[in-house]
């Protein structure tokens, strides 16, 4: 298991790098108290398993309007052309890229690593797992949360 600070820094760096590169949005890691609340409208929750050598689960929660604007930027089309499937897939691809970038920062270069496939998640994605790390981000004034979950022994 990686040291907490190393994991948090790697995840935060990966989120910033990925979203700025893929969706051309400004990303700032933030304290939760400085962020607007989630709108509760069309929030996207995506999960991905970290398989080796670090084992755990990443969950990314994206505020609904933010998910739409990120998808719009990634596809380069107007909002009315964005379907729910496109939005879900775009957020999955963001988390997939975040996970890979984070692992490449954490794992020594001579050691292989493996991650799972991203998938849409519901609230039960939390059950049976301990939230070991939560990161909050301000993305163009909207809220994005990233959770690292371990497994109960």
């Amino acid at each position: 298991m990686m040291a907490g600070e190393g994991l948090a820094a790697a995840l935060a760096g990966a989120v910033v790098e990925t979203i700025e590169s893929m969706a051309f949005a400004e990303v700032v890691e933030s304290g939760v108290s400085h962020l607007p609340p989630l709108t509760g409208e069309g929030d996207r929750l995506v999960a991905l398993a970290l398989l080796s050598p670090l084992r755990g689960r990443l969950l990314m929660l994206v505020d609904g309007p933010l998910a739409k604007s990120l998808t719009e930027n990634m596809y380069g089309v107007d909002r009315q052309e964005i379907t729910a499937d496109m939005e879900a897939d775009a957020m999955a691809e963001v988390l997939n890229t975040v996970a890979g970038r984070a692992m490449s920062r954490l794992v020594p270069p001579h050691q292989q690593f493996a991650i799972g496939l991203p998938e849409p998640a519901r609230g039960q994605a939390y059950s049976g797992h301990e939230i070991m790390l939560t990161l909050y981000f301000d993305v163009d004034g909207c809220r994005l949360e990233l959770f690292f979950l371990g497994e109960f022994k």
Binding site: D85, M86, D89, A92, N96, R101, S104, Q112, I115
Partner: protein
């Protein structure tokens, strides 16, 4: 855009994410390959079917895919005499030197890390030309 020893007229993009396929295609178009014919596959099995049916000058594949993943696709491709010479570019979020080394040993010509950019595609295609050892029939 560097002149290829053989022109890349057709590109197959294999990735389970439609978003990723779209981004990869856009990067290749901006990099100067907009006149190429693009095929898309959502997994390695679909990619194999296309490879056996169409002429493909470059296979661009993700690693993590359902049904048949990138490593499986690479292994199957290299075992088929008529397809073993198709150059393979792996574009993946799961890349580091150790992972890259394994993929090169399996027969990939190049490995790129997501997120990619048109500039990284231009560099990769230049390296692909340098790696290519012959003209395809």
């Amino acid at each position: 855009m560097t002149q290829s020893p053989y022109p890349i007229k057709s590109i197959l993009i294999a990735d389970d994410s439609g978003t990723a396929r779209m981004i990869i295609k856009k990067c290749f178009e901006i990099a100067g390959l907009g006149d190429s014919c693009f095929f898309e596959a959502a997994n390695g099995q679909e990619a194999l079917s296309i490879l056996q049916d169409k002429r493909v000058d470059l296979l661009v594949t993700d690693l993590n895919m359902p049904v048949l993943d990138g490593k499986g696709l690479l292994a199957r491709l290299k075992s088929i005499p008529g397809l073993a010479g198709v150059p393979v570019m792996v574009i993946t979020s799961g890349s580091n030197p150790a992972n890259e080394k394994e993929l090169i040993n399996l027969g990939a010509a190049l490995v790129l890390s997501k997120p990619i950019s048109p500039a990284s595609v231009v560099r990769a295609c230049g390296n692909l030309n340098a790696c290519n050892s012959g003209v395809r029939p």
